[in-house]
Amino acid sequence: MGIDISRFQDTFFEESREGLDLMESRLLELDVKQTDTETLNEIFRAAHSIKGGAGTFGFSAITDFTHSLETLLDRVRAGELPPSDDLVSTLLEAVDITRGLLAAARGDADIDAAAVAAAHEKLNHWQGGATAAPGPAVEPAQDAASPRGWRIGFEPDAEIFASGNEPLRLLRELASLGELDVQADIDRLPDLEDIDPERCYLSWRLRLEGDVSEAEVRDVFAWVEDECRLTVEPIEPQVAPAADSSSAEPASPAAAAPTTRPRPAPEQRSLRVSVDKIDALMNLVGELVITQEMLQQQGSGLDPVRDEVMLNGLSQLHLNTRRLQEAVMATRMVPVDFLFSRLPRLVHDLANKLGKQVTLETVGEGTELDRGVIEKLTDPLNHIVRNSLDHGLEGPEARRAAGKPETGTLTLTASHEGGHIVIVIQDDGRGLDRDRILAKARERGLPLGNDMSDAEVCQLIFAPGFSTAAAVSDVSGRGVGMDVVRQNIQSLNGQVEVTSVAGRGTRVAIRLPLTLAILDGMSVAVGRETYIVPLHSVVESLQPGATEIRRLTGSAHVARVRGEFVPIVPLGDLFGGRPWASNPADGILVVVESGGRRTVLLVDELVGQQQVVIKNLEANYKRISGIAGATILGDGRVALILDIGELVLVSSQAAAA
């Protein structure tokens, strides 16, 4: 009937990708000394499904390869082949090869035939070289001389209905093969009152004439082989030995199926929706919030008695709008596992490469985070983990010498704290070396204090240019250092902090807002413009005259904040506005902090705190230094959101000059 099944190929590719990811992560968490049956089953099932799909959709290269993979996995889960690190490596490699084959099938890449052949060879090697090629099933070759037809004796078991089989169907099928003569044998039929309608009492003697092979005849009965007595004899060369088969074989006991203890694995009813659609929804909700705020403001002038209904409606609208906003934001949230699940492979490969033993532990994988944040966290997190393996964790000998277990532990934790998510990467390695850091900082010409605290020394690793040292290995030294990590995290409105205890380990904590789409901001007025300062970077604000202000050369001013002189950035000057407060002493000073550095913003007025929906300026314009984005205020006007990280950097450079 010509059904085109290619339309399901994309689904096949997608589920195969997921299957491979699952295989990979299960292989990585496999404890070769104490294997868990369900894990092995899961790995097997994934390979099995890919093979099945590849067969259905006609990707023979994938079928061939995954057949060997599946056969090997079947032996492993049957306990015939003990898992070992070597075997796991081979299997991981096979996962990669299968990925490549899928990409090739999709037309995204070429097949590396040599690599496939080599990996295939390896798989076969584990099975002692003997692969059961997925060749055609062995047909009983019995079609020597085709007779005129067949005499068939068919005596179903009385219980045949209980398997859902219907003798009539079989007769009809036979009739479709040739000319069929049917004789029912009613000898077994009991008296009417004794008949159990659920049992079969009839048997049949059949005569099928036509050009039909014995295999074809037997095929019709294939499902009921065990539930009947069947004889098939050729009609003409009468002397041919009757091929008799009977139901001698007892039905094997219902195999004790591996108890599938449901793992707390993702059992979720879900729907794939493109990110664009969700972003569009998010934008609309943002608009709605703004309109609602505008109405709320208008509503403040209403009479509580006369306009009671209106006011109630407004407050209901306020509530529902917020709920809607939260619900839409929740659709963008994905578990941090998306991030963590990529790391076991990295740790496994790196540890092998470096000759270290590392256990990776993850906690709080279910913690949810905005998808946009997750994407931007991948690189920084990879970098920190690489650093930890490369520099933090010691090799087995060094660890033994230090009285620690030979296997180091790297722990990743995700948790919610207020409106933030905190991701901690902790190792039990040697810790940061204070003297080495100081020496290196000196060498790089970084400004050093006289007696810096340990915390201050730790912060040095985030200084630009600190870790681009020649000494770093090819593992972590890819030209980006912790300064880039910090920049990336700050660009997400987050903070990163490192603490370390010599000999005990290093702890890197990343603190991020839950979403990139919304920001808690403080709005400030400068001239006729309103700017939004991200609330998390505001330290305090100072009233005019509340602090000492000193004039440096030219127009540069510094303010004394908690005993320290901090450069003042007059926002009006910087952005070319016309500030009312041209004299720092008249304006309001907002102390902001980023990356451990402080700056004071000079503004005319503090307007208030509010949540704002972040809009991207770059969509239709370009990036402006010092500006992180824009938002739309309750009155419909656009306000710019300040990039405090950049402002602080610029002002401290200006102050240093």
């Binding site: 059904i3 689904t11 099945g52 067969g55 259905t56 398997s163 659920e198 219902a254 599938t260």
Partner: protein, 120 residues
């Protein structure tokens, strides 16, 4: 109209089966593992159940066994979907109460042929 339940953990297989059968005029429900299949089968009566063997949570053979034990599926055709290497699976399936099997990979025409025969 005959209602068919297709149980397979592979979305692409499920989609292919469902689409093929729907094109042939059958009503089709899908489930992604044995447990889900069992739930669906309890809540409504199907004239035919197609079950993959290897599935998470509950495999197809277990599911077939459970269905066969239920009054409402005592005589219903229950087919397992198995691969060419799965001779023992066929036997296990039969032992659990399966009517028969369809060998993977199969194409839409093969599927329809079998289904038509069983539901004729």
């Amino acid at each position: 109209m005959s209602k068919i339940l297709a149980v397979d953990d592979s979305t692409s297989m499920r989609q292919m089966i469902a689409y093929t059968l729907k094109e042939s005029g059958y009503e089709v429900e899908e489930a992604e593992d044995g447990e889900a299949g069992l739930e669906k089968a309890k809540s409504q009566q199907f004239s035919l159940v197609l079950a993959d063997v290897n599935m998470p949570r509950m495999d197809g053979i277990t599911m077939v066994g459970r269905l066969r034990g239920m009054d409402q599926y005592k005589f219903t055709p229950l087919l397992i979907l198995t691969t060419e290497t799965g001779d023992d699976k066929k036997q296990q399936g039969k032992a659990a109460g399966a009517t028969g099997w369809i060998t993977k990979p199969f194409d839409p025409d093969q599927l329809i042929n079998v289904v038509k025969r069983v539901l004729a």
